[in-house]
């Protein structure tokens, strides 16, 4: 299958806790692995425990498809995305993930995948045009410059970023692009790479309904036109956004509650006795069913158990499709160290000039502070016995205070960030 297939993905974290002898843990996701240390003189045993954040999650998505991972808070959406993008740290990830039949590993990820994080990491002092240009220079060093420029302009147009192409992105220090524009810019950077698979972490969060729909429409078209595989996590999709997903996976407590086409969800839930109420959208209904905090635990467990029963049939169906060997590999970025070095130097020189935090602001501050101290100690101009200690002081101030000032500007920025957030 020339797509992304993940089978029995689990993520387990281990920890130890002290429990009274004979005590149990009511948490369904927690299992005892045996007493590892106990003292005869003590009534307290140290127990090693494993907590399953994800348990046997399986799914697949083909080229041209958009898989939406839905679920309430704490359902394991981000953990699943982390496991698929090989960034699930702090525990043990198990399972099988393949892309075009190849097992997912770091090199394959670097070559064929892109992860667009929830919070945009665009360079604050670069414009979208510059950002995409640098991305093109770095991802496509073998293309001619004129071709790269054409691609950049096409991409900006495709992403609807022409209108703000020369506005600085902004972020913590100043307001630049809107949230939707930032996300589209991140997508533009990702697409310049020409990946096979794009992971989008919460692309609609923080956006109004219209922007969220626009982004997802764009993502859907992108997947279809570019024949990409797109995996998105969505916390609370509107009905419009839901309809744009080609397949959905409902997670709750690290387990799957439904996986299949977005259109098939209503029929599936009807088949297990959960008819969709007339006044609810399917997206809302699914999230209500899976939310253990507001539904009864028994109901949620029944929902998850029902899917487990269906799951074996689905797995068999997926296995029946033999993955073609060496499925068409997307064009891969060639490593060009010298070109990268030149491009990065150019980019960071530009940032050096524009970003006051890094150097220019500090240079001005250094000059100002040192001028202040030199004026304070202006009497040390005279090389007299009485000025010797003052001269020592001014040298000391120069050394120490500049090291402090190196950081002073930064503190202000942190405060600004906190205020801004």
């Amino acid at each position: 299958m020339a797509g992304l297939v993940f089978t029995d993905v689990s993520f387990t974290v281990s920890g130890s806790s002290k429990t009274k002898k004979g005590g149990g843990d009511p948490d369904d996701n927690t299992i005892d692995t045996g007493s590892v240390a106990s003292s005869a003189a003590s009534y307290v045993a140290k127990t090693s425990k494993k907590k399953h954040i994800l348990r046997n999650v399986s799914g697949h998505v083909n080229s041209g498809g958009v898989l939406g991972i839905l679920g309430p808070s704490g359902a394991g959406k981000t953990t699943l995305l982390n496991a698929l993008t090989l960034t699930a740290f702090g525990g043990i990830a198990e399972g099988l993930v393949t892309l075009g039949g190849e097992p997912m590993n770091y090199n394959l990820f670097q070559k064929r995948c892109v992860c667009v994080e929830q919070f945009s990491r665009n360079w604050e002092f670069l414009t979208p045009r510059e950002t995409v240009r640098f991305a093109a220079d770095l991802y496509l060093p073998d293309l001619k410059k004129i071709e790269r420029r054409e691609k950049v302009e096409t991409m900006l147009e495709k992403m609807g970023l022409q209108i703000c192409a020369d506005t600085k992105c902004g972020g913590t220090l100043f307001q630049g692009l809107s949230g939707g524009q930032q996300k589209r810019l991140s997508l533009a950077v990702a697409l310049i790479k020409r990946p096979s698979l794009i992971f989008l972490d919460e692309p609609t969060s923080g956006l109004d309904a219209a922007s969220a729909t626009a982004i997802m429409e764009f993502v859907k078209n992108l997947a279809e036109v570019e024949n990409l595989i797109i995996v998105v996590t969505i916390h609370q999709p509107s009905q419009k956004v839901y309809k744009l997903l080609s397949s959905v996976m409902l997670l709750s407590g690290g387990r799957v509650g439904y996986f299949g086409t977005s259109n098939g969800a209503v029929d599936y839930f009807s088949s297990i006795g959960r008819e969709l109420p007339a006044d609810l959208s399917i997206a809302e209904y699914m999230l209500d069913l899976a939310n253990a905090e507001f539904s009864s635990t028994e109901d949620v467990n029944a929902l998850l158990d029902a899917w487990d029963e269906r799951r074996s049939n689905l797995t068999a169906a997926v296995d029946a499709v033999a993955p073609p060997k060496a499925a068409k590999v997307a064009k891969v970025m060639k490593y060009a160290g010298w070109k990268q070095y030149k491009t990065l130097t150019k980019r960071h020189l530009k940032l050096l000039v524009r970003d006051p935090l890094l150097y220019t602001g500090r240079a001005l501050t250094f000059f100002g502070v040192c001028t202040f101290f030199s004026v304070v100690y202006v009497a040390t101009r005279n090389r007299e016995q009485t000025q010797v200690l003052n001269k020592v002081c001014v040298v000391l101030c120069c050394v120490v205070l500049c090291c402090v000032v190196l950081c002073c500007v930064v503190l202000c920025c942190v405060v600004l960030c906190l205020l801004w957030l």
Partner: protein
């Protein structure tokens, strides 16, 4: 009269008081923040296959070195304009000063690469900064610090920078003192080459101020070397011996050491991944 009779450790106490008040006011002034942000972006770019950590590292270093020299120039220029520092030494002063800034910058980068939380990183840097300051040989004499703590005196950049800067600045004669050759003459001071042989010529303060008592007035010396050696009685870090090259090399070594660690940390951080183990059934 020997020097030890007219100088006391009064200055150490004064400096200690000054910095006990001053340093807490500087808490939180850490330059780790921008690097923390930058490394987060770079990590994302490396993971997505856009850049390699080595290319970024080299590009950053290429820009950083001249930029820190520029910062150093901005900091030193007012001293030469307003306080009339020794112009003939401005080149060496800039090299020594900027190398120290580079060392601190590299330490800040290293912290930002290792500690992903900006606030924690800033606190950690603050501790490093204060440790540098404490062990710079000014607040506490190096010989008074017990091992292994004394190792800090040798491994942080501030002490070496301060020593060279003082040497380069105290390079000319001071008024208010005259040379004297008679070791037995009252008011004629001199340093000793060894415990018995004085370094001639000595100096005496012959102007009106010399009539003041020792408690009010200290006669430091005629030449820069004499003055700095007199100061060195209280602050053993200071000396008339030319250690500029050594100090520069030590700080450069600290810079390169921190940069090397940074390279390792960057590679580790940006390429860290959790491979999923191919176990289908649990």
């Amino acid at each position: 009269m020997t020097l030890k009779k007219c100088l006391t450790r009064l200055f150490s106490k004064l400096f200690l008081n000054m910095w006990v008040i001053g340093v807490p006011a500087c808490l939180g002034t850490v330059s780790v923040f921008s690097y923390t942000q930058e490394f987060a972006s770079i990590t994302s770019e490396v993971r997505n296959g856009m850049v390699s950590p080595t290319s970024y590292y080299l590009a950053n270093a290429t820009i950083q070195v001249p930029a820190m020299f520029f910062l150093g120039f901005c900091a030193l220029l007012p001293q030469y304009l307003f306080v009339d520092w020794t112009w003939s030494n401005i080149g060496l002063m800039l090299v020594v000063y900027s190398t120290t800034l580079l060392a601190f910058e590299a330490i800040a980068q290293l912290i930002a690469a290792v500690i992903e939380n900006a606030l924690l990183g800033m606190m950690f840097y603050m501790n490093i900064w204060f440790t540098c300051f404490l062990f710079a040989g000014i607040l506490v004499p190096v010989e008074d610090i017990i091992w292994p703590l004394r190792a800090f005196c040798y491994s942080f950049p501030l002490r070496w920078c301060f020593r060279s800067m003082a040497y380069l600045e105290f390079d000319e004669n001071f008024s208010g003192a005259e040379f004297c050759d008679n070791a037995g003459e009252p008011g004629c001071f001199f340093h000793y080459e060894s415990s018995t042989s004085p370094m001639l010529p000595g100096w005496s303060c012959v102007n009106d101020e010399s009539s003041r008592t020792d408690a009010e007035f200290v006669c430091f010396g005629k030449t820069g070397a004499q003055v700095i050696d007199t100061l060195g009685v209280s602050y053993s870090t200071l000396s008339s011996e030319n250690t500029v090259a050594v100090d520069f090399l030590i700080n450069a070594a600290i810079y390169f050491g921190a940069k090397l660690c940074l390279l390792v940390a960057l590679h580790y951080r940006t390429k860290k991944h959790a491979n999923i183990s191919e176990v289908i059934s649990l």
